[in-house]
């Protein structure tokens, strides 16, 4: 709507720029007849401005590398704790998965039960819906197994008769979280008439699961608490940034900046703080994993195991970065909402 700066009044001094301006105006008028083009251009410059602001806020952070690094480190440490715990739990879960398969109930049958009765009982147990699989081991087979695995094979030859009972090995349906169900199954097996004893192997695996469930809850709680801490850190840092640019904010508001325009650089600042913290946290977690992996390998080797620490997967890493950037954005948003509206031209 602005009245033209150089209207038709002839003025030698301004003639050149006036003519240039006329051309420009013709161009603009031509453009205006194509509303879509004008809108596209507007949208274009909108995105370009976003890119520009993003770049400028990053450069602004890098201009004070030490102060920014401090903030990034604080955020990174706050993120490393829950993420590290998460990685630890992931590994523990992976490790215990192998033991989980071994969570079986050994049902020792009475000595006087013969093979036919034993197999019939095994079939009966297999029909229960909480049971996944059943394996009948006759006393002879048990002895054979024992010979092979115990190293007492020669000594056993001196026994007159096989002292081992028949065993039915019951694998519960894999629903490891439900310890109660397994316990019920155990009691039910124990109550069967021909059963001498039913024993749950690796009961501690279930206990481990409980501990891990607790650990997961702790990781979540820690994550929530430290997430709030990150919000506060970013919020406070952005608040200081707003304060230090108060004069500039007043000027841009007076030359017609919208609230969104004023807000934008600070929101990007928050994103950069969050994202930088996330990247550093990723680095820290990996350093810790690398640092621990040597000891873990030794430990696992001592147990004859085959297990390597796994780090942050691709998706986990991606969500860590996204999450930290969002945290930064949210922290900045809170600070901007609280402090920016107070800065008005006076």
């Amino acid at each position: 709507m602005g009245l033209n700066m150089w209207p038709k009044k002839e003025n030698r001094e301004h003639k050149k720029s006036y003519q240039k301006n006329q051309q420009e105006r013709r161009k603009i008028e031509k453009g205006a007849t194509h509303g879509v083009i004008a809108r596209n251009q507007r949208l274009n410059s909108y995105f370009m401005h976003h890119r520009q602001v993003a770049k400028e806020s990053l450069l602004r952070l890098l201009a004070t590398p030490f102060a920014s690094l401090m903030t990034w480190l604080v955020i990174a440490i706050a993120l490393t704790l829950p993420v590290g715990l998460y990685v630890f739990l992931q590994n523990a879960q992976q490790l215990s998965q192998e033991w989980d398969d071994a969570a079986q109930i050994s049902v020792y049958l009475e000595q006087n039960i013969n093979a036919q009765q034993g197999q019939k009982l095994a079939q009966h147990i297999e029909s229960w819906n909480v049971v996944q699989q059943v394996r009948y081991i006759s006393p002879d087979e048990a002895l054979e197994e024992f010979k092979q695995s115990s190293g007492f094979g020669d000594a056993l030859q001196y026994l007159n008769e096989n002292p081992l009972p028949a065993v039915v090995v019951v694998s519960p349906r894999t629903d490891s979280s439900n310890l109660r169900l397994t316990q019920v199954l155990l009691d039910r097996l124990q109550a069967l008439p021909d059963v001498e004893q039913a024993q749950l192997d690796l009961q501690w695996v279930d206990r481990l699961f409980r501990i891990m469930a607790l650990g997961q809850r702790m990781a979540l709680t820690l994550g929530l608490l430290l997430g709030v801490a990150v919000l506060l850190v970013v919020g406070n840092t952005v608040r200081l940034a707003i304060e230090s640019r108060r004069a500039e904010i007043v000027v841009v508001k007076l030359v017609g900046a919208t609230d969104a325009f004023v807000r934008r650089p600070f929101l990007y600042t928050g994103i950069w703080y969050g994202l930088g913290g996330g990247l550093l946290a990723w680095l820290l977690v990996n350093v810790v994993i690398y640092w621990l992996s040597g000891s873990v390998a030794e430990l696992v080797a001592a147990y004859d195991g085959d297990f390597g620490l796994s780090g942050l997967g691709f998706l986990t890493t991606l969500s860590l970065w996204t999450f930290s950037a969002l945290l930064g954005l949210l922290g900045a948003w809170l600070a901007v909402g609280r402090h920016l509206s107070k800065i008005e031209p006076q």
């Binding site: 033209n4 009044k9 007076l254 030359v255 017609g256 919208t258 031209p345």
Partner: protein, 220 residues
């Protein structure tokens, strides 16, 4: 262009800065606003810039009743007014070019357009060769001219200035005033608040004199 109808501005502490002030500045006119400090010059400019709102009365700028302009619309309204500050209010961490480009960036202009208009504005104030410098590398007079370039880069219909020569020596002040006259000659409505009476007395433009929030005199 600017129309005040019995405008009263009373601040929250009870101080009445303007009392039933009425005047009209026509489109294309150039007017000085003068008076002792506390006479209401700044308040008047603040009302026009919508930094404050009148307690009573009506302020109409370019046919728009400012009492009807909502908070959300204020930025868009301000884009039609060029404002020159006493202390020029440049951003010292940005080049002369970026300072002048600010209003265009804010209104979402195309980069090509920005480059062309900024150079035209800098050319106008005679600082085309200094576009890459930081404001601190310029003299006081040059800094003020950058401030003026920034105010006119958007081609506003109305140019307001608050003590634009406050910190300049007489010679530079006269130069700055001549610049404003040039803009006025090409149709821009100009209103300048100043207390440099000796300077404006020689310039033969309309002078509005305020005293205690009222119009004391109105004339050349």
């Amino acid at each position: 262009m600017i129309n005040f109808e019995k405008v009263t501005k009373r601040y929250e502490d009870g101080y009445e800065a303007l009392s039933e002030l009425s005047f009209h500045v026509a489109q294309g006119e150039m007017a000085f606003l003068t008076g002792h400090s506390g006479a209401g010059k700044s308040t008047l400019l603040k009302l026009v810039m919508l930094m404050e709102r009148s307690t009573r009365g009506k302020v109409v700028v370019s046919g728009r009743d400012l009492s009807e302009t909502t908070r959300r619309k204020i930025p868009y309204y301000r884009r039609n007014i060029g404002l020159v500050f006493q202390d020029h209010q440049l951003l010292f961490d940005r080049s002369v070019f970026d300072n002048v480009a600010l209003p265009l960036v804010i209104s979402g202009a195309q980069p090509k357009e920005i480059g062309r208009r900024v150079r035209a504005a800098l050319d106008k104030v005679g600082l085309l060769s200094k576009e890459k410098l930081l404001p601190l590398a310029l003299s006081g007079g040059e800094q003020q001219r950058v401030g003026i370039a920034r105010a006119v880069v958007n081609k506003p219909a109305l140019l307001l200035a608050d003590e634009p020569t406050g910190n300049l020596d007489p010679e530079l002040s006269a130069e700055i005033m001549r610049l404003f006259e040039q803009f006025n000659q090409v149709g821009v409505t100009v209103m300048i608040a100043t207390h440099d009476l000796s300077l404006i007395a020689r310039m033969r433009h309309r002078i509005l004199t305020l005293q205690q929030g009222r119009l004391l005199s109105d004339g050349a």
